[in-house]
């Protein structure tokens, strides 16, 4: 049954976003656009070797350089920090060890950038090299020396093992077993804005930090911890981000350095990273090797999935523990998987730290699962779309791993792209060199648990209304380009019956706005939106009661629309919205209301079950068409058809932008983007360095590569979303990579079981095919030396389980246990 879409004045209308004018006139003030009187500039000295002890640092010449005000080293920053409570493993400047080329070692604060750069070159650092860990094979093979002194063992940061039901029995009893290994190369966010931060003492002597951060709340916490200052004396202002995609979700060393420098010098200090440095900040997509062992019945139903993933984490923890769980958390939310085992392992290597990029941890496993489903469909001679339609997870259900599914529009999405792309006329029917591929996905609409475990709301909104008739909406959410300010004012405008332009949004300022956890995990629309609706409804109720008393109209007959408050039964009887606010202010005094949102408690109660729960999940299906030149391997994508279960589209023009932006970024990952590394020649240093830390050589799609995109929005009206809305910022990226790989197979009959899918790999596979060998390029095997822990055994809901693991050691105290475990939840890009 199709849900009813209610009539709305603002919601569902394609509108210019509230910050649209500011952006097209160049007036949006990004962090590097800020300039303060007496401002100084900071440059960082970064490690030139990948793994070494710092034997000595000589800053004397640098400090004596004309125009230099301050030179800092690690000794000023002894306190570690990190975004997850379980991995506070970073220092603003390295202590005694550098862990990757690009790790910050020292900082110079000088009168201008050029002087700071000159003075950075005058610092000398003596290093004692340590073994370099270039990839997970190194890290698994050599436990010593350890990159960090913490972690599960050796250079293994985290290894987890979860089992839901008798997966071995289910796979053994299956009609067919598919056993495939896939690899997903790392890639990076590449926001066009380079990270920048300005810090200053305000006139009262408190600290103010303006920064291009997606998560001002986490930066606030990290500054309080590392600077040993009361959080109440620190103000973090998130400037609008010039793109984030997850790359500005961690608290960063440069932010802490300039904050400390501003306090020490009592002068404003700015840093703006170079493009090369942005590649070193990274926190992007983890390279993941994975093995999917899947049992299926002859009619294509899954009996069980046994998944192993191996993540190359880079040099620090970042969100990595959560990323690890995310590689296995959402497979069951997409398809009906009655038994499931997930083992994930993240190792440290001497490369820039990986973290949350758009889709956070889920695209890699999604790639493997969707390509394997294509192989299953091929083998069983079932159409890949029909195969998926037959196994879509049921609505209003609990999965084997205790994720609670609400509405699920996935089947509608599949049917939509099958129809729009004319799939049945194309799949296996196009001439050699042309093909189509299909894939599906699901994603969180916000993480169900916070990173720092507590009972506090995930999002808060305050409204101020006064006799001007103006409304100001305050929320800690951060505008990163996705349109969160627009969602905030649109929801308030809808409830109060006024126009978005009547409302001023004040966001991302820890002094002025109530906490919102940040723009990650696709959480803002759902969480901030629900908080905003609550605050606006309270304001409306208060105004309605006052107007009802004044005009003697029963409160339930009052309507708010068209900037008026009036009697529904006699619309001429009423007052303007401004008059209504005056009436309320006269009767009740100054008007302010608040709203907040806290997700319902998840059903999963086993260790690790904190990663994956969400108030609701979005769903996507996509068909990609490709043209592959068998002579050159060159791939052209002429068109993509995509359908997304959005719940409800709040502003369709912005929703379309998120879908098309996801298609674009997904195709970049599928075809060309690689955060890759190489060894410098031995005559230089043999150091492990980023292969191409520049926008030119790190290939990303331009206007010329972007295909035509046909988008269908499926509105399933989710009851947990604001006006029925789910997320759209990340989900539509996920099916692109596997759909492309599946299309390449349809076009030329070769399997590229790794991302990116490049012309070189296609030619290699075609050559193998011509030689009569398996026409596949991809990883050969999954390593057998991963130190898996004993699996936590969790009985699925339909076998009488309660969400707990039967073999989990008794937790010391509920509070402490949850702090450690569920701290891993809630991450995104």
């Amino acid at each position: 049954m199709k849900p009813t879409i209610p009539a709305s004045a603002v919601i569902g209308r394609s509108r210019r976003r509230v910050d649209g004018r500011s952006k097209v006139t160049g007036q949006t003030r990004f962090a590097d656009d800020l300039s303060l009187p007496r401002m100084l500039h900071c440059k960082l000295l970064r490690a030139s070797v990948p793994h070494a002890r710092i034997v000595g640092i000589d800053t004397a010449r640098s400090a004596a350089h004309p125009g230099v005000h301050l030179v800092l080293t690690g000794s000023t920053f002894p306190i570690p920090y990190g975004v997850l409570p379980v991995s506070h493993d970073e220092h603003a400047l390295c202590q005694d060890t550098v862990r990757f080329v690009g790790d910050p070692v020292a900082a110079v604060i000088a009168r201008d950038e050029a002087t700071a750069a000159e003075a950075v070159d005058l610092i000398t650092v003596e290093y004692e090299p340590l073994r370099t860990y270039a990839d997970p094979a190194d890290s698994l093979r050599f436990p010593e020396p350890r990159i960090h002194e913490y972690g599960d063992s050796g250079n293994v940061h985290k290894a987890v093992s979860l089992q839901f039901g008798d997966v071995d029995g289910a796979i053994a009893g299956a009609d067919h077993v598919f056993d495939d290994v896939f690899f997903f190369e790392g890639n990076t966010h590449l926001p066009i804005e380079q990270h920048a931060t300005v810090a200053a003492k305000d006139p009262d002597g408190k600290l103010v930090v303006w920064s291009s951060t997606q998560t001002p709340h986490y930066l606030h916490r990290s500054l309080a911890k590392t600077l040993q200052m009361p959080a109440a004396h620190i103000r973090v202002i998130a400037t609008p981000n010039g793109g984030g995609f997850g790359g500005k979700s961690d608290p960063f060393n440069h932010e802490i350095v300039v904050a400390k420098a501003a306090l020490l010098l009592d002068r404003p200090v700015k840093i703006c990273l170079t493009r090369e440095e942005v590649f070193y900040c990274h926190r992007g997509r983890h390279p993941v090797l994975m093995r999917f062992r899947t049992g299926v019945t002859k009619d294509g139903r899954i009996t069980g999935v046994d998944l192993q993933t191996l993540l190359d984490g880079g040099a620090y923890g970042s969100y990595g523990v959560a990323s690890t769980f995310y590689t296995g958390a959402l497979q069951t939310v997409t398809y009906d998987i009655p038994t499931y085992r997930f083992r994930g392992c993240r190792v440290f290597t001497n490369k820039p730290p990986c973290g949350p990029k758009r889709g956070h941890g889920t695209p890699q496993g999604r790639f493997g699962q969707e390509v394997q489903l294509d192989k299953i469909a091929e083998k069983l001679a079932i159409d890949p779309a029909d195969l998926r339609l037959n196994i879509v997870a049921p609505p209003d259900s609990l999965t084997a791993n205790y994720m609670r599914i609400g509405t699920i529009g996935l089947a509608d999405c599949v049917r939509a792209v099958v129809a729009s792309s004319a799939w049945k006329d194309k799949h296996r029917k196009l001439p050699y060199g042309r093909g189509v591929g299909l894939a599906c996905s699901s994603y969180l609409s916000g993480a169900g648990l916070p990173i720092n475990w507590n009972d506090l709301p995930h999002s808060g909104v305050q409204l101020k209304l006064d006799r001007s008739g103006g409304v100001t909406a305050f929320c800690g959410a951060t505008e990163i380009g996705q349109g969160s300010d627009d969602v905030l004012v649109a929801t308030v405008a809808e409830v109060l019956g006024i126009e978005p332009f009547d409302i001023r949004a004040v966001t991302g300022d820890t002094d002025l706005t109530p906490v919102d956890l940040g723009s990650y995990s696709s959480r803002v629309t759902l969480m901030m939106g629900n908080a905003a609706i609550q605050a606006a409804t309270r304001a409306r109720d208060l105004i309605a009661a006052a107007v009802s008393r004044k005009l003697e109209i029963p409160v339930e007959r009052l309507a708010f629309a068209g900037r008026r408050v009036f009697d529904r039964e006699s619309p001429d009887r009423g007052v303007t919205f401004q008059e209504a606010v005056c009436i309320a202010e006269a009767q009740c005094g100054t008007i302010g209301t608040t709203g907040s949102y806290t997700p319902a408690k998840p059903a999963a109660r086993y260790k690790g079950g904190g990663v994956g729960p969400s108030p609701t999940y979005s769903y996507t299906a996509a068909v990609v068409e490709v043209e592959v030149d068998p002579e050159t391997g060159w791939i052209v994508v002429p068109k993509v058809w995509i359908a997304h279960d959005i719940g409800r589209s709040l502003n369709p023009i912005l929703v379309r932008g998120q879908v098309e932006g996801s298609v674009y970024m997904g195709l970049g990952e599928a075809l060309m983007e690689e955060q890759a590394f190489r060894r410098l020649p031995a005559r230089l240093s043999n150091a492990l360095v980023h292969k191409f830390p520049s926008l030119l050589e790190y290939k990303s799609p331009t206007f010329l590569e972007m295909p035509e995109v046909h988008t269908d929005l499926i509105e399933s009206m989710d009851p947990s979303g604001p006006f029925g809305a789910k997320e759209v910022g990340q989900g539509p990226l996920l099916p692109m990579m596997p759909a492309l790989a599946n299309a390449v197979y349809d076009a030329v009959g070769v399997r590229i079981d790794e991302v990116p899918v490049t012309p070189e790999k296609i030619l290699k596979a075609l050559k193998l095919k011509a030689d009569g060998k398996p026409a596949r390029v991809g990883p050969a095997a999954f390593p057998d030396n991963v130190p898996w822990p004993e699996a936590l055994m969790v009985t699925p809901p339909w076998e009488g389980g309660d969400g707990r693991a039967s073999n989990e050691p008794e937790r010391k105290s509920k509070r402490k246990a949850e702090a450690g475990i569920e701290a891993t939840a809630g991450v995104r890009s």
Partner: protein
């Protein structure tokens, strides 16, 4: 253009139709002079190596990457930045449709794209879709997936033709 004691250059140029005189360090690019010395921060930077297009401005009406142009080269020349696109306080049709049609998300690449599109429409009032893509191929945008930008340029071109 004269060199001042201490090596600074005295530059006189026209910026957005107004005469401007400034003292600038000789090593500074046009981008740095615009942003740091003239406080015209609407022009952005993504690489300062000529790779992303975010810093595009018009120099004597032609689009250039201001990160690759020395300020010293701009003496006596006309520079147009995003701040100079509006006409008597009214948005240029490109700005108007970019805001209406979702062509700007985070807004960081937007000034460079607007400037480059303006140069295209100045010389080709009725560009084909391929001409628009070719003209903008040097401008990277990570948010939009480009399609709403192409549509906005088409819509602005149509509006400009209707007005002329």
């Amino acid at each position: 253009m004269t060199v001042q004691p201490g090596g600074k250059l005295r530059l006189a140029l026209s910026v957005n139709g107004e005469p401007v005189e400034t003292l600038a360090d000789g090593y500074k690019t046009l981008l740095e002079v615009l942003r740091e010395d003239l406080q015209l921060t609407g022009t952005k930077h993504g690489c300062e190596l000529g790779e992303c297009g975010a810093c595009a401005v018009l120099l004597d009406g032609e689009p250039v990457l201001s990160c690759l142009v020395l300020a010293a080269e701009c003496h006596s020349r006309r520079v147009t930045t995003v701040e100079g696109l509006t006409d008597d306080g009214a948005l240029h049709p490109l700005q108007d449709v970019f805001a209406d049609l979702g062509a700007s998300q985070c807004g960081y690449c937007t000034p460079g794209i607007l400037i480059t599109a303006r140069a295209l429409l100045d010389r080709e009032p009725n560009p084909s879709r391929d001409q628009i893509k070719d003209a903008l191929a040097g401008n990277l945008c990570r948010c939009t997936g480009y399609l709403q930008i192409v549509e906005a340029v088409e819509a602005a071109a149509a509006r400009l033709r209707g007005n002329s």
